[in-house]
């Protein structure tokens, strides 16, 4: 099977080169729109790289976020930039500045090459065989309540990480809402084809989100992937001109956004009160508790991502 390994090596080599080339072109071209399209293609290749590295959970997250949220976010930010009158092209450095700093100009490149060499050396000097923590995870998997090791790490062994991560999402949303004076983009009502597409896709997306949430206990999937898919459904609805009815924009929206972190904190407190440590679930209830947290987290991640895409706080949206 020598040809087989050769083929795989060529595939990996091309993928690696493609990633580097896309990143370079995306960061070097003057037109911002081109840069964004190249970045979207970069995300696609990243998903292929995750698959080659046997990280299907990561690939699912990359696919949902990269295809569903990032591209739409960047394109509509660029559109917003154009409407405020800022340049879509990068201004070239004036000649004078270039000459003035002639010798200094090379310095960043040299420092960067040094950094690259040091980092490369550091990576290559790591032991080539190291199973990391996989043995420890495998040992304790039976008591975690789920059989997918990644979900076990995310919601049981390192649950505090995920809890704080939910808080970070919330902070980002608060930040975006506090900048609400930036005018958000208006979307006209959708034409029939887009309307049909949305009507077909959104229920399917919700179904797939539920599937990913459920399957995450024993196979690749979980709250983050499901939440990202829900977020993408929200992005699609917003693009089609749909807005949350005003009676739901007040506390019901905030309640859903908070439900993820709140469920986490409540269960963390309960585990402390019943005598355990933070987020140390009793083994017999671990599966149920994880599912409860994951469901709440999925809803809250989905709604938060959609709200981040919408940009302005819902009250502000109404006033316009």
């Amino acid at each position: 099977m020598e040809e087989m390994t050769l083929l795989q090596e060529i595939f990996d080599g091309l993928l690696g080169l493609g990633l580097l080339w896309l990143a370079w072109r995306s960061l070097a071209c003057t037109d911002m729109f081109k840069a964004i399209v190249l970045f979207i293609a970069f995300g696609l290749l990243m998903a292929l790289a995750w698959l080659r590295l046997e990280a299907p959970d990561v690939a699912l997250a990359e696919a949902a976020i990269g295809a569903g949220v990032t591209g739409a976010l960047l394109l509509s930010a660029l559109a917003g930039l154009t409407s405020t009158g800022a340049s879509r092209h990068e201004v070239e450095q004036p000649e004078g500045v270039e000459k003035q700093t002639g010798t200094l100009h090379r310095l960043p490149i040299l420092l960067l090459m040094l950094t690259a060499a040091l980092l490369g050396y550091a990576v290559l000097s790591l032991p080539s065989h190291d199973p990391g923590l996989s043995a420890e995870v495998a040992e304790n998997l039976a008591s975690s309540g789920v059989s997918n090791p990644v979900t076990a790490v995310l919601l049981n062994f390192r649950g505090y990480d995920t809890m704080l991560e939910m808080a970070v999402l919330l902070m980002a949303l608060l930040g975006v809402w506090s900048l609400a004076c930036v005018e958000s983009q208006r979307d006209s009502s959708a034409d029939p084809i887009l309307d049909m597409l949305t009507r077909l896709l959104v229920p399917l997306l919700i179904l797939v989100a539920a599937y990913l949430l459920w399957v995450g206990a024993h196979a690749p999937g979980g709250a983050f992937q499901a939440g990202s898919v829900l977020g993408a459904a929200g992005v699609l609805l917003i693009l089609a001109g749909w807005r949350l009815p005003s009676r739901l924009t007040g506390w019901p929206l905030r309640l859903v956004v908070l439900s993820g972190p709140a469920a986490f904190v409540a269960i963390a407190l309960i585990t402390i009160l019943i005598g355990g440590r933070l987020l140390e679930y009793p083994t017999e209830h671990a599966g149920t508790l994880i599912l409860i947290i994951e469901t709440m987290a999925t809803l809250s991640i989905g709604v938060t991502l959609a709200a981040l895409f919408l940009g302005s706080s819902p009250e502000h949206e109404e006033k316009q």
Binding site: D191, I193, L194, L197, L200, L201, L204
Partner: protein, 99 residues
């Protein structure tokens, strides 16, 4: 190699040829409207043939169904996008290519 394997190989290679045609179309066609063909026809048939090649190897009906569903979803996305982009381009006055 059994009969199934031969069938699957033929379908997969045919799919590859359609993908190649799509790429050539993307590179060689003169304007947006003709390039939409590459998106909606060549590549979707290519994916259909690849999916067909994998369906005959599928381990269960559910797996085969999922593969076909993936193809249908790509068809749906391709068709709607080509409409959105085509009509948008017409509205914005991007000229049609004439010989």
């Amino acid at each position: 190699m059994g009969l199934i394997d031969y069938l699957s190989t033929i379908l997969l290679i045919a799919g590859g040829i359609f993908f190649l045609a799509g790429t050539v179309g993307l590179l060689r066609f003169p304007d947006v409207y003709t390039r939409l063909h590459a998106l909606t026809k060549a590549d979707n048939v290519g994916l259909g043939l690849v999916v067909a090649g994998l369906v005959v190897q599928a381990e269960s009906w559910a797996a085969a169904g999922k593969l076909v569903l993936i193809w249908l979803l790509v068809l749906l996305a391709g068709a709607s996008i080509s409409y959105l982009i085509g009509s948008g381009a017409l509205q914005r006055g991007i000229r049609l290519w004439k010989k």
